[in-house]
Symmetry: C2
Amino acid sequence: MVEPPSLEKLVQEFASLPGIGKKTARRLAYFVLTRPRERAEALSNTIVEACDKVKRCSQCHSFAEEDPCPICKAREGSRSICVVEKFSDILPFENAGIYHGLYFVLGGVLSPLDGVGPETLHIPQLIQRIQTEKIEEVIFALGSSPEADSTILLIDKLLAGVPVKRSSLARGIPMGSELEYIDEVTVLRAFESRTGI
Amino acid sequence: MVEPPSLEKLVQEFASLPGIGKKTARRLAYFVLTRPRERAEALSNTIVEACDKVKRCSQCHSFAEEDPCPICKAREGSRSICVVEKFSDILPFENAGIYHGLYFVLGGVLSPLDGVGPETLHIPQLIQRIQTEKIEEVIFALGSSPEADSTILLIDKLLAGVPVKRSSLARGIPMGSELEYIDEVTVLRAFESRTGI
Ligand SMILES: [Zn+2]
Ligand SMILES: [Zn+2]
């Protein structure tokens, strides 16, 4: 009962964000109150503005202010589609400038324990898009986990009979890392899929 | 240029908060966009509402919706004052229920390297309050750091000739830690064995 109610409410709001505990939430709330009021208004307005403007692209489920999103629009007619778990997974590809095809945001990977089944993900839309846009290659960029593997397996099954090449990001040792510090499963995978020189 | 502008702006706003890096800011922004709009509005409104309602108590500089704050009002006439660095440092005392006197939020500790000199803190107001309210004991609860020590030393000097007992939390507090994050028992012990200066 020391914290004024409106401050306590702000602490609770911050604490409802992922990875923000009560103490961090308190630090953020105090900081917001300490800054000039304009900064708080800017934060407040930006939150609502982003919610108003940002939608999901109906074709790839990326966050975008237009529908279709700039990438779907600019790369219409591309024959390859890169399947990612979430929107932010697109960023490293675009930053590296290595890929110029389409993307598709699944919205997650299968995780029965967390209640994420095939119906929660955008799998039917993906299958449909692959067929209607005559996609020639599907590249799965889902990270490496048993859940990602079973998601790829399911989509692969659903694509039975569809003439589309399927690939998945290579599993191996990340650049610039010392072998000593890599976990055994990664080393095992990298060994199994070792490539000729 | 993959992120829509309004989303990028939101990421930047979150990244301007202390301890929130670009990646965490992105995660928060995406989360806010994924939740129902009402939740974003609630967060947005709570920020502005807290800024509107929460002020600084003119007597102790605590965050409060009224002036004087509930503690200054309820404990008027108390003869002891507990000097803390920031408002949140009051919480462990009140949660432990060990202290029933007044508080005074200094607003920091002396830190010449960070440009925090005596004039940045509320030291003159503290000295004045001690004299006008006939305070009999000043308890310094400033955590343990060289900066805290020199702050106590300065205030002690300024109080030369003022008939007031001065004590400081016992060194039960680990070095280099912020009072806010100390458990109540430790605070209780340190409070009980506070020592004269
Ligand atoms: Zn799109
Ligand atoms: Zn007060």
